[in-house]
């Protein structure tokens, strides 16, 4: 933690090691710890002034996703984050951080504002997933997430997405298509929660530890896979033990990165952002990098189903 650069991602070494199974489960518990700092806890510490905005101007306001403008290192900044709620009542009110279409549409409204007023955008990801409810589906949950990603790709201002807890499913990625994507040390980023994955793949929700081990949704793994650009350290016992220090460590990464991103021309930034996401994915059969013949895929050319 004494590393002045303040983020593991550029240290190399240990962070890039593959996490073993018990570690994965421990990280999942930490990422979901009910005392973990939530977006408003970071905002309170990073920004002397913050003004929350409300509503999508279409249907409603979604308390599961907070959005607002704040003063950050003497500049205006736009912030979006999943807010889970601390006690039972707030958790219910905030729907456990599961945003509906109204949340993503509020987020898009703030992105418009960020572009208009030339504000950097920071998103703080911490959700078990987008809200699975009939009403959310009727109002276009899928399209809301898709368009939020689309909107982020079109941003002219710099953007950084930070996984600060649980980053699960499209609900997380909906606000995650940024110039830089980073994870705090004890967080997860995954296609599905371990319970959900266990229920589907093992047909037994109780086998979530197996699912966790298989998904390996830790910061270390995601860093290895190129999903995130850096891993931001937390205080020694985890972010929930020292909010101030957790915020300070995040600040170290954030301020430096936004400054760096601002140096790029907007068009270049947008191009690189597209390229960043376009390149993700491992597969076989691609042509080699010098453009010569493909390694796999020769054959008679008949469509496989037609034989």
């Amino acid at each position: 933690m004494s590393d002045r650069r303040g983020f593991l991602g550029l240290r190399g070494g240990r962070a890039a090691d593959e996490a073993d199974e018990p570690d994965v489960w421990r990280v999942i518990q930490l990422a979901r710890h009910q005392d973990r700092p939530y977006p408003l806890d970071y905002i309170e510490r990073l920004m002397p002034e913050f003004e929350e905005i409300h509503g999508d101007r279409l249907f409603s306001d979604d308390p599961a996703l907070v959005a607002g403008i704040g003063r950050y290192h003497d500049r205006p900044v736009a912030v979006i984050g999943h807010q889970k709620g601390r006690d039972t009542r707030e958790r219910t009110a905030r729907n456990f951080g599961m945003a509906g279409p109204e949340g993503y549409r509020k987020a898009m409204r703030l992105m418009d504002l960020a572009d208009k007023l030339d504000m950097d955008l920071v998103t703080l990801i911490d959700t078990p997933g987008a809200y699975p409810g009939a009403s959310a589906e009727e109002r276009g949950q899928g399209g809301a997430i898709a368009r939020s990603m689309q909107r982020m790709l079109r941003l002219t201002v710099p953007s950084v997405a930070v996984v600060i807890g649980e980053g699960s499913s499209g609900g997380a990625l909906g606000i995650g298509v940024a110039d830089r994507v980073v994870m705090l040390e004890n967080t997860t980023y995954s296609v599905i929660s371990p319970e959900g994955g266990a229920a589907i793949l093992w047909r037994d929700a109780a086998r979530s530890r197996d699912a966790a081990a298989a998904f390996r949704p830790t910061a270390a793994s995601c860093y290895r896979w190129g999903i995130v650009d850096a891993v931001v350290p937390e205080p020694p016992e985890g972010a929930h033990h020292d909010y101030d220090e957790a915020a300070r460590l995040l600040d170290g990464y954030l301020e430096r990165t936004l400054r760096e991103l601002r140096r790029q021309p907007p068009d270049q930034r947008r191009r690189l952002r597209r390229e960043r996401f376009r390149r993700i994915g491992a597969y076989r059969g691609a042509p080699t990098e010098d453009g010569s013949a493909p390694a796999v895929g020769s054959g008679d050319g008949r469509s496989p189903g037609g034989e």
Binding site: L173, S190, R274, I280, Y283
Partner: protein, 336 residues
């Protein structure tokens, strides 16, 4: 690297077989709605729609292309792309075993790209196949769709996408999730090139596919009674304890909720698509199409952009070593 994709695709293009693929039906089927029994040929003749009750049987990718394309005009692109196993994923069985079994059924991935003509108009099609691992979206789906969009942009061809998917392919973990963003990038390239994207939602279109490229078409059709949802009915019922009606998330309900442009009977789909493509056809212009120019410049820009990428994001990204085995490459690259 994407820029190189364009260079090699033409060599990889395959002529299609015009014989009827067996994936379309087997020996015969009873309609699950009304019980009417059909022989395979009967069903195929009616586009796999029940003649008694209009139930739409699932249609896999190749027969779908036969159905949509003008006779004998479709040609598959990039059939050689195959999933890697970056997570060395094992649930009740190893991921590669699932892939192998799926391939044994005659399919090669959950999406098939083809160039074709519809109503005489040249276009590209990306057709998903629910029969291959539930039409799940992994890296190959993302990559093929991206290549299709690149080519569509480059040649100013409309892109028709037919979806049928349970969502992201869990066995590829968070890398599968990221294909949602990747496909949205592909859609953005189409936008920049001013190329139409027509989406047809077949049963079922759910999860990460609905929450990415499937929901942002310029014109969006759905097949009758197709389930279209981000969260499936079972998940919703478990989470919210609501009892959902039969109609939940079905095409007809999504039309009422403003999420699709029309519910179109499969048998009318080729004509409907031909009409839309006809409407959107660009007038003959003296100057070279902006789209083609854009794509050409785009390729050069992409190559330059790749140079400027931070080293980090080059990891595990559109790669595939000379031996075609990305899986081992990944682990060598990272552990070394």
């Amino acid at each position: 690297m994407p820029p190189h994709i364009h260079i090699s695709v033409d060599r990889l293009r395959r002529r299609r077989q015009t014989t009827q693929p067996p994936a379309s039906g087997g020996e015969g089927r009873a309609c699950p709605e009304c019980g009417t029994h059909f022989r395979a040929e009967e069903l195929a003749r009616n586009s796999r729609v029940c003649t008694s009750c209009d139930y739409h049987f699932p249609l896999s990718a190749h027969p779908r292309l036969d159905h949509l394309a003008d006779d004998g005009t479709w040609t598959e692109l990039w059939p050689e792309l195959r999933p890697a196993d970056p997570l060395r994923f094992v649930d009740l069985e190893p991921y590669p075993d699932r892939v192998e079994r799926a391939e044994r059924s005659g399919l090669r991935e959950a999406i098939v790209i083809a160039s074709m003509r519809i109503g005489g108009i040249a276009c590209l099609a990306a057709v998903m196949d629910f029969g291959y691992l539930g039409g799940s979206m992994g890296a190959v789906v993302g990559e093929k769709l991206t290549r299709a969009a690149d080519r569509a942009a480059e040649r100013a061809l409309p892109l028709i996408v037919v979806t049928a998917s349970g969502g992201a392919r869990m066995q590829e973990g968070v890398l599968a999730l990221m294909q949602m963003a990747k496909t949205i990038v592909a859609v953005e390239e189409l936008r920049a090139a001013r190329v139409p994207l027509i989406v047809v939602l077949a049963h079922p279109t759910t999860g990460g596919v609905w929450a990415s490229f499937a929901s942002v078409g310029d014109v969006t059709y759905a097949e009758p009674r197709a389930l279209i949802a981000f969260s499936g009915p079972r998940v919703i019922e478990q989470t919210t304890r609501e009892k959902l009606p039969e109609t939940f998330g079905r095409a007809e309900a999504q039309l009422a909720h403003g999420q699709v442009d029309a519910v179109v009977d499969r048998r009318e789909l080729p004509d409907r698509l031909a009409r839309v493509l006809g409407i959107l056809r660009r007038p003959a212009e003296p100057e070279p199409g902006a789209a083609a120019t854009w794509a050409r410049e785009g390729r050069q820009r992409a190559a330059r952009a790749a140079q400027a990428l931070p080293a980090l994001s080059k990891r595990l990204v559109g790669r595939g070593g000379p031996n075609g085995d990305a899986e081992s490459t990944v682990h060598e690259g990272e552990d070394g």
